[in-house]
């Protein structure tokens, strides 16, 4: 069966999706279909949607970290220009070892999203053309978008406050100008004026 915009859309899409075992679908709005499925069956769904239902546009791949369940959730947002529906396919994969298959062979834009997820979450995609760094070129810390990564604590551990007092600034400050707030005054652990008042 092939989908057409004139047919009863929701029914035919759901009919098509029945071919994937263990799939649950839910219409969130007339143009948004949420699909939950097993990670092993996602390539079959992608192939079915692209090959037989006209979902040629990969809008995005989103990754959500669920440390309590020790899982990553991957969401594939696929849009069809013909039937005008956005399918959001949700899968869950274990955080350890954190490896999944690339869909680059079917959707070229996946390369960007997979590279981004690899960089930010440390999740590796087998078969993706380039897993090299893009945004965080010289970053050697842990993947920053994981929930256990605390950016503020990392900065506090990693960097020292610089006491920036060159000679020319000292001259200005002697006359009452320049930086009026000293680095020790902005430390987080120092009590603030409003703490003392309350």
């Amino acid at each position: 069966m092939k989908l057409s915009p004139t047919s009863n859309l929701s029914a035919s899409l759901e009919f098509l999706l029945q071919e994937i075992s263990g799939l649950r679908s839910q219409w969130k709005s007339p143009r948004r279909l949420r699909v939950d499925l097993q990670a092993e069956t996602l390539p079959a769904l992608i192939e079915l949607l692209k090959g037989r239902a006209g979902f040629v546009h990969l809008s995005a791949i989103s990754c959500v970290d669920w440390p309590a369940q020790n899982e990553f959730e991957l969401v594939y947002h696929l849009w069809s220009y013909e039937v005008k529906v956005l399918v959001m396919a949700h899968i869950r994969i274990p955080r350890d070892p954190g490896i999944y298959l690339s869909i680059y062979d079917l959707y070229r834009p996946a390369a960007f999203f997979e590279r981004d997820i690899h960089e930010m979450f440390g999740l590796f995609f087998e078969g993706s053309p380039d897993m090299g760094k893009f945004i965080l070129t010289e970053w050697d810390g842990p993947p920053p978008m994981r929930k256990e990564f605390d950016g503020e604590a990392w900065v506090m551990n990693q960097f020292d406050w610089q006491d920036y007092q060159p000679g020319w600034l000292k001259d200005i400050e002697a006359k009452g100008g320049g930086i009026t707030t000293r680095p020790e005054d902005v430390r987080r652990d120092k009590p603030k004026p409003w703490d003392e008042q309350s």
Binding site: H57, A60, Y107, F134, L136, G151
Partner: protein, 380 residues
Amino acid sequence: MRPENYQSVNHPPSNEFELFFGPNHPGIEGNYALKVRVNGDEVTSARADGGYLHRGFEKLMEGRLWIQNIALVPRICVPDPVPMEVCYSLAIEELGGIEVPERAQWIRVMQLELSRIAAHLFTFGGHAATTGMYTPMFWGIADRDLILDLFEELSGGRVYHIFNIPGGVRRDLPPGYLDRVSKTLDYIESRLPDYDNLLFTNKVFVHRATGVGVLNQEQALEWAVTGPNLRATGLDFDVRRDDPYLVYDQIEFDVPVEQAGDAWARALVRRSELKESLRILRQVVAKLPSVGGPIRAPIPNPLAWNLPAGDVYTRVESSKGELAYYVVSNGGDKPYRVHVRGPSAMHAVQVLENLVTGARIEDVAQIMFSLDACPPEVDR
């Protein structure tokens, strides 16, 4: 790359050399780099290098309240900030089940279209400048300033408005505001023939832009190209019309389409879109006085606002293409995860690398600007 980490590589003798476009280059909006290998005048390979504007918005948003993030999102795209605010607000409203009053929706449409005109004027100028014509750039930026004046009057901010909040908009229109919008529209409309004479019928520009950076429709779909770049390849698609949000289904407008898919076609699509945006704004100006009612739906105390658990994917048509937010809530007072899908993330990396390969050196900057990529959207 930090200079201290740069190590020179001894390449075997060849007549190729490596040329760096950026990270500070007038041929692209913002800090972005393109490393091209050049053989004579021809580009043999290209590699995009982003991250110079990475500020970690997605991580920052996880640590801030739902309402606080409104101040963060417009910074993701400097030339066209309103779609960011609106898209994020739409996501929160859908999660929280908030119905936006009709007047607020019309005010949002007005801002979106004003922002689109401002962004397109900016892009025309930049595109012309990459072909050596600097006058359209000065004109475009001067005319864009009039729209920034309107935004300043409305919201207090010229570039970042922080005006669209979950539930509606912050304030109602000042007295006489629509007249001033109308006058600005008249002025911009009167300027369009000047732009045509200066740029769009200018033989130098036409010859420089025709046949450069050609993208056919099949390639465009394969590489997830959206927005004006996609419409320049002949595909008649616009999120405003085909996946409508706000009150766009009540507004009459055409979706301009070109067939050639080159830099010239992309410029023409933006030129026609400018006219359509003026047409939409005329309808908004005519309609707004008759739409009464509140400008904001009541929302709970935003400092202790727990949105129900769930996830939502909202899309809007920004001046660059399809902008989408994937927002996940776990029932808390802060977003659990926000994923920003900027249209430029596609255009500035894979598409740009492909289009530049095989082009001539003098067209590289023009291809960059004709794709209208916004680097902060790539880096987030």
